[in-house]
């Protein structure tokens, strides 16, 4: 019994240590600076929502939030569709060079972004895409292809053959087999893949830091860095900025918790 209690204590403490920094940060965002200095853990006299307005407008968080959202959507949808197509090609067809092409597409899992980001910068400069959302969207789709192809090939290879054959007998061509049979059948996995692409894109820092210098095209992670450098001593404002970033993530996490945890742990096991 004592041992059991000890184990629970272990878990509760571990859980609290993981969550508390976020809670205290949100708490601080609702206080004034004097209140923080006086007692950092106390509740504020009345919640100071003005800080959020300040972060949202003066801190340009509305802009960063908009950019992050647009980029995430513009990355996730084509990444999922293209991954489904490449995965389908490898799972369903035998063709010359398939092994080599598959290995080629997996380069992205081996080479870290750090090694590509510098040439990528100059490539984007040559085609005049620096300081635009395209500079984030196109490379991020490309970076998604390795994991996406790997996952979708597996997913489609495990779709029962009878179902596919039946639809072929019904006169479906290969395009219809992909989008009307395979894709809907693999929906749970595709959902997980989309979620992972979303999180990876939303959290990406190095790419936007390097390719976009103009703050108009910053996403949230880069935005908060410059924000922190500029308002070093305005704790409530930084805390509000941080909360604006992690609150949507926490919401998405709470909604899709099971899928996300499974996806991220299995994704790691595959990588």
């Amino acid at each position: 019994m004592i041992k059991r209690g000890l184990a629970y204590t272990f878990l509760v403490v571990g859980c609290l240590i993981a969550i508390i920094p976020f809670l205290i940060t949100t708490l601080a965002s609702l206080k004034t600076m004097p209140e923080i200095v006086q007692n950092v853990l106390a509740l504020p006299e009345s919640p100071n929502w003005g800080t959020y307005r300040e972060a949202w407008t003066q801190g340009r968080f509305s802009r960063f939030f908009f950019n992050s959202t647009v980029v995430a959507i513009a990355v996730v949808i084509p990444s999922v569709l293209f991954s489904a197509m490449t995965g389908y090609a490898f799972a369903r067809f035998r063709f010359r060079g398939s092994n080599a092409l598959f290995a080629y597409l997996l380069i992205g899992l081996v080479v870290p972004l750090q090694a590509m980001v510098v040439p990528l910068f100059y490539l984007l400069r040559e085609v005049n895409l620096l300081d635009s959302l395209w500079a984030l969207i196109l490379p991020q789709i490309a970076l998604s292809m390795s994991f996406g192809t790997l996952l979708m090939r597996q997913a489609f290879a495990s779709v029962p053959k009878d179902i596919v054959e039946a639809s072929v007998l019904d006169g479906a061509n290969s395009w219809q087999v992909l989008w009307q049979v395979m894709f809907p059948l693999s929906r749970p996995l595709i959902g997980t893949l989309g979620l992972l692409f979303f999180i990876w894109t939303w959290n990406e820092f190095l790419l936007p830091l390097v390719v976009n210098i103009d703050p108009t095209y910053h996403t949230l992670p880069v935005g908060i860095l410059y924000f922190q450098q500029r308002w070093t001593s305005n704790m409530p404002l930084i805390a509000a900025g941080a909360t604006i970033i992690f609150l949507p993530l926490i919401l998405i996490f709470l909604i899709f918790q099971k899928q996300l945890i499974r996806g991220l742990t299995e994704g790691a096991l595959k990588g």
């Binding site: 184990a7 878990l11 380069i107 040439p119 970076l143 908060i224 742990t265």
Partner: protein
């Protein structure tokens, strides 16, 4: 198998059909991943300054030699290595111990802790840095406020020459232990229960059970967790950038940061070489890690 009939039906389409499916993904991938990788390898052998192509003349392995002769390169690499116990070993132990304990005691309702424990893992590194930088603020940060209340005399953490790097290490461990826990919990459930029954029949106590059944059974998960954490330690950038930016002095410079600073000073070819060294070190060490733990039971 119905292989012959299905393969005949596959042939109904033209031979180039699969290539058509590959086309969109392949084009984007080639342009924005493969091309930069090839360019990186090529440019690492030039003295390119990143501004004018005239400077992109072949210099052989000079960039690499220069890196190996530069003390700051070794300092940065050394700091990455110092981070390994914090980023790799600490969270693995912190995840493994409760996972084994929960399983051994058949704790009910342990599942609800997973979400909370896992939360830091989905957060962007920069955000983690920003949050901890204020948490550890020496003047009004919550950590030191509490420690002072309890009568301790806490260091200034990220602002202290000798504490800054270990502090970043602890932040890395904090961000990863929940992930390790979740991976281990999932792995333990796959270990056949009769192995545990057999161990108990042999009179094994909890610790022996852990050593003879749980640990070997989790070999694959441990290998994966170690290599994922190792990659994070060697590629560390976001958290460092947001907390110390390499300071105070050079006390928390890491390879990725060193590379970025080189880039800012118009030495693109050199910066790319450092990135390639970083990639190779990461690849070699993580493959070694996987080989060490993963292959042994096959």
């Amino acid at each position: 198998m119905a292989g012959s009939s299905s393969s005949r039906q596959r042939r109904t389409g033209p031979w180039w059909e699969p290539y058509l499916y590959l086309l969109p993904g392949l084009i984007v991938f080639t342009l924005f991943v493969a091309l930069p990788v090839i360019a990186a390898i090529g440019l690492s052998t030039t003295g390119w300054n990143g501004v004018s192509w005239d400077t992109a003349t072949f210099v052989g392995a000079d960039n690499f030699v220069r890196a190996f002769e530069e003390p700051r390169f070794w300092t940065a690499l050394w700091h990455n290595l110092i981070l390994i116990p914090y980023f790799v070993i600490l969270p693995t132990i912190l995840g493994l111990a409760p996972a084994a304990l929960v399983h051994q005691m058949k704790l009910r309702g342990a599942g609800i802790f997973q979400a909370g424990l896992f939360l830091p893992y989905i957060m962007p590194g920069v955000l983690i840095g920003v949050v901890w930088r204020w948490m550890l603020n020496p003047v009004f940060g919550p950590v030191n406020t509490v420690l002072k209340d309890w009568g301790f005399d806490p260091p200034t953490w990220l602002a202290d020459f000798s504490w800054a790097l270990p502090t970043i290490g602890f932040i890395g461990a904090w961000a990863a232990y929940g992930f390790c826990y979740v991976v281990f919990v999932a792995g333990i459930q796959k270990i056949p229960t009769d192995l545990y029954d057999a161990a108990r029949l042999d009179g094994a106590n909890g610790w022996q059970e852990f050593m003879t059944v749980t640990l070997p059974g989790l070999r694959r998960e441990i290998a994966v967790v170690l290599s994922v954490n190792l990659i994070n330690a060697l590629r560390a950038f976001d958290v460092v950038k947001a907390t110390t930016d390499g300071g105070p002095g050079d006390s928390t410079s890491v390879l990725a940061l060193f590379m970025m600073n080189t880039l800012d000073s118009n030495q693109a070819g050199y910066a790319i070489s450092i990135a390639i060294v970083l990639s190779v070190v990461t690849l070699v060490l993580s493959l070694a890690m996987l080989k060490l733990f993963g292959d042994a039971d096959d």
